[in-house]
């Protein structure tokens, strides 16, 4: 039976249909994906571990390894959490369970979700299914590559400054970073609390909307969550009449955007117009000038504090020491990789006496301006559009030597993250045979508008998103 399931092309929605009609059992479906993982994950390294038993009544799901799963090791891609087995489920994992989804496994991530290529994973990088010599993006490269390579029908990632949207763009699938506060962070290994959001990754916009419906909504265990003001709508319209799409002038002026990416994005925009949408320019000058510096102060500052709990006392790696202090310093030095150390150092410095006002305090004020600037753009537009990543997937090792070059991967995704707004990556074409993603930004709680626009564009484009080298 599992042989009949083509995991490369099966959408989650179709898989749900198969299970509902009892054409395939949850266990068979789970088995089919494990089989595919067995075939292809040796090369791609999307999974840090898989779960053999299908526990659930529905289809499988892959969870990024920052999402705590009771009884299943959760490392956040870090040596310091190697062997750590949560004794509780994160709220999103519990909601997936309650929906009957079976846990396929935990996917690779840059250590503590800090990175844009998964090369910062302590357990080795994942690879892009379109070209294994290239990165899948990050930090959620494992989930994105798994979905594109048919190793999971869908999955959950976490996004702080682009960790869902950017890998989806580089792997050619759909990823949603939801409005801050609509999905619980309880049980998510924290990176930067005021920015982290969990969101779905899938083959289609409708799949993403279906999964968002499962995970979204207020959670009593996370004070910063809210109930959705309106129910999640599954998009079906194929036209975009009445939709106003704004393109930030300052985003398109960035030289970092590769010509092939720009061309694919502009072609898609023309299509959006043909579908009946109104496309115009808008201005977000401060957001694109100051968004990245603002983010690289706030996120490391919060991270430096969030990562203080890894002290070798209650869980995780401990290195021996004569004194408590020696033990803590040794455990942290051996347990953390270069990128977390860099961010802990940066954040500690930015918060330390004498520097708070100039760095963290100032960044929080810049954040206010970025929020305001986006709010005024949404007075004229329903959604904003930019390329998601300035480049297509780059070769492994290309940017590892230069932290600033790696940070620039998120140039286009960061401003709306800082503003707490939802963003959706929709594949919009190819450049050099690699996927290009279009980022749709919505106002707060504007997910339905993103789904509607993304779905119509996806239908109109009709791209084959199975990596060429994997097509039968």
């Amino acid at each position: 039976m599992s042989a009949a399931v083509d995991t490369l092309r099966l959408t989650a929605e179709d898989a749900l249909g198969l299970v509902e009609r009892r054409e395939v059992s949850p266990a068979e479906l789970h088995g089919a994906y494990l089989e595919a993982i067995g075939e292809r994950d040796g090369e791609l390294h999307c999974y840090l571990r898989t779960v053999a038993e299908a526990e659930g009544t529905s289809i499988p799901i892959a969870l990024k390894d920052v999402i705590s799963t009771r009884g299943v090791e959760t490392t956040a891609g870090s040596r310091i959490l190697s062997g750590y087995v949560p004794v509780f489920d994160s709220t999103v994992a519990a909601r997936c369970k309650a929906a009957g989804l079976t846990l396929l496994g935990k996917t690779n991530t840059d250590e503590f979700a800090m990175g844009s290529s998964t090369e910062n994973s302590a357990f080795g990088p994942s690879r892009n299914p379109w070209d294994p010599s290239r990165v899948p993006g990050g930090s959620g490269g494992g989930t994105a590559a798994a979905v594109s390579a048919g190793l999971a029908p869908w999955g959950l990632g976490s996004d702080t400054g682009g960790s869902i949207k950017q890998p989806s763009a580089l792997c050619g699938n759909v990823g949603l970073r939801p409005t801050y506060g609509t999905v619980s962070r309880y049980g998510i290994v924290a990176f930067a609390s005021s920015l982290d959001q969990v969101g779905p990754v899938a083959k289609t916009v409708r799949d993403v909307a279906l999964l968002y419906r499962i995970i979204a909504g207020r959670d009593a265990a996370d004070s910063t969550t809210v109930e959705l003001p309106s129910a999640v709508e599954l998009p079906s319209a194929e036209r975009l009449e009445g939709l106003r799409v704004g393109v930030p002038r300052q985003a398109m002026a960035l030289e970092a955007i590769e010509p092939g990416v720009r061309a694919a994005f502009e072609a898609a925009l023309e299509l959006v117009e043909e579908l009946g949408a109104e496309v115009g320019e808008c201005d977000l000058p401060l957001s694109f000038d100051y968004g990245l510096p603002c983010y690289y102060l706030i996120a490391p500052a919060e991270a430096s504090s969030n990562l203080a709990r890894y002290d070798g006392v209650r869980y995780g790696r401990r290195s021996e020491g004569e004194s408590y202090r020696e033990m803590v310093e040794g455990s942290r030095d051996e347990g953390f990789g270069d990128e977390p150390k860099r961010r802990i150092m940066l954040g500690t410095y930015a918060l330390s006496a004498g520097y708070y006002d100039a760095y963290y305090g100032q960044a929080q004020k810049v954040r206010t301006l970025i929020v305001r600037e986006h709010a005024s753009a949404f007075e004229k537009f329903d959604v904003l559009a930019t390329p998601t990543s300035p480049t297509v997937a780059f070769p492994l090792g290309d940017r590892t030597a230069d932290p600033l070059a790696m940070y620039a991967c998120d140039l286009l995704t960061i401003p709306s993250c800082v503003a707490g707004l939802p963003g959706l990556n929709v594949p919009c074409g190819f450049s050099e045979g690699l996927p290009v993603g279009l980022q749709l930004i919505g106002p707060q709680f504007g997910e339905n508008a993103l789904f509607r626009a993304g779905h119509a564009l996806e239908r109109a484009l009709g791209l084959d998103l199975v990596p060429a080298r994997l097509r039968a």
Binding site: S68, T74, G187, S223, S305, A308, Y324, S352
Partner: protein, 471 residues
């Protein structure tokens, strides 16, 4: 030169909410180690804090009782440092935007009210408990290893910071007695120093009397009773005065008060200066109590101890008023007086005999107590003591004790008095020579001889008559 102490206090009060500040683990003593813990208070990856609504109401209640302004917006911050009893690597505490600011407490003193400013009162979470094991001394420095129990970790604490408005150890003690009673009566904490639910640190400096300069201050910690606090402050004041007077300079330092020796031990200096890197806790939202809630809490405040000390002080002297109110005894006193007892006598019986007998004042029927107070010199001493010991028992009636008439019949007492005077000729001589204080000596002997059954007034009368007449 005369020196004036300048003292500010930092007080931590553990709230007696049912659950912890940021998780719903139960709070309480006596549970097995680490069995009142969860992912939140153990700092497991991904766990998030959710504030306790009762703790948030209680800090506002306390702030109102201390005359504070209630902040329209309070914000929790993270105080970052490493210690095994701090599972997240930071303590959540209100910092630059606390719930209560700018309060003032009027402490009734014998010579009038003394104002102590309240700089702030804020909410935070308590640390866990480290147990140091092994080593020669069993103290931190000599321990072989440390064990950590997270049960206490995350218990709600209110930190109260006073202005440096206190100028003697005695004032500090009076202020703390009053504060403690206020907290207990608000029902928000047991505030017991021995249990650690009330902890006090003192910042002490001295200055020449009459000047308003602020000199270098030192902090004293680890004092576990009001008496120790007073002794610790006195010792520190003495030390600082000696330093200044010998031409030295007081250096800022923290001392532990050693209860056993009454001395101050300097704490070891830290390797790097405190740099707690405070920033707003991003996992929590601001606290913005509505004006309606604040007014509702204000309206619900009971009459506060300070006001009652003043009121009781109109009838009794200040010292008696203070003892009654800070002992939580003034309500019983008021009702006993209302039932017919004489005010000073009632105060003495309640503050001395009743407390001495360990009687719960809450269980006492004031009408019955009033009868005992009124009859206290008429009935046998033994009967009175027995009655006091049982006065809080349900259905207690004074009548059987009042019926136990004392022996006042001169015919019965006279032989005993005569015998005692005869047995103590030297004392009789001294009395007659003018040492009239010896009257009590003879009365006591008679009372002892009669096993407490004699009427004290009658004995008094008889002894006096015999000593004065039979010259």
């Amino acid at each position: 030169m005369t020196w004036e102490p300048v003292i500010g206090l930092e007080i931590h009060v553990q709230l007696k909410t049912r659950t912890k500040m940021f998780c719903r683990c139960p709070v309480g003593f006596g549970a097995a180690e680490n069995t009142q813990t969860c992912p939140v208070c153990l700092g497991f990856p991904g766990a998030l804090p959710v504030p306790n609504s009762t703790a948030i109401e209680w800090v506002v209640r306390l702030g109102l009782a201390l005359g504070c302004e209630i902040a329209p917006r309070a914000v929790f911050a993270r105080k970052n440092y490493f210690y095994p009893d701090l599972p997240k690597g930071y303590q959540i505490s209100q910092y630059d935007l606390p719930s209560c600011i700018n309060g003032r407490v009027l402490v009734p003193l014998p010579n009038g009210d003394h104002a102590v400013g309240i700089v702030r009162a804020h909410l935070e979470e308590d640390a866990a408990k480290n147990v140091h094991v092994g080593g020669r001394t069993g103290r931190i420095g000599g321990a072989d290893y440390t064990l950590v129990d997270y049960n206490r970790g995350g218990t709600p604490l209110v930190e109260i910071v006073t202005a440096p408005d206190i100028h003697s150890a005695e004032e500090a003690k009076r202020f703390l007695q009053l504060l403690r009673q206020t907290i207990v009566e608000l029902g928000i904490s047991d505030a017991e120093m021995e249990k650690g639910t009330l902890r006090v640190d003192a910042n002490v400096s001295v200055r020449p009397e009459g000047s308003d300069e602020l000199r270098t201050r030192c902090e004293i910690k680890n004092m576990n009773s009001f008496t120790h606090i007073a002794r610790g402050i006195e010792a520190e004041v003495e030390r600082q005065v000696a330093v200044w007077e010998s031409g030295g300079e007081v250096e800022q330092h923290t001392y532990d008060f050693d209860v056993a020796t009454g001395t101050l031990t300097p704490r070891r200096a830290k390797e790097e200066a405190d740099d707690y890197r405070y920033f707003p806790e991003p996992d929590l939202l601001p606290v913005e109590p509505s004006a309606a809630l604040v007014e509702q809490l204000r309206a619900g405040l009971p009459e506060l101890p300070a006001e009652r000390i003043r009121r009781v002080g109109e009838t009794l002297d200040h010292e008696r008023a203070l003892v009654l109110v800070t002992g939580g005894l003034d309500a019983l006193w008021r009702d006993t007086v209302a039932a017919g007892a004489e005010a000073v006598a009632a105060s003495n019986v309640i503050a001395n005999q009743l407390v001495g007998a360990g009687v719960d004042p809450g269980g006492v029927d004031p009408a019955e107590l009033a009868k005992l107070v009124e009859a206290r010199e008429r009935i046998p001493r033994q009967a009175f003591d027995e009655a006091i010991a049982r006065v809080a028992e349900p259905g207690f009636s004074a009548a059987p004790y009042l019926a136990r008439e004392a022996v006042s019949d001169a015919a019965a007492l006279e032989p005993i008095v005569d015998a005692i005077l005869a047995a103590n000729p030297a004392q009789v001589e001294q009395y007659r020579g003018g040492k009239e204080g010896l009257l009590g000596f003879f009365v006591g002997k008679v009372m002892k001889e009669t096993k407490g059954q004699a009427d004290a007034r009658a004995v008094n009368e008889l002894v006096r008559t015999k000593l004065n007449v039979d010259v």
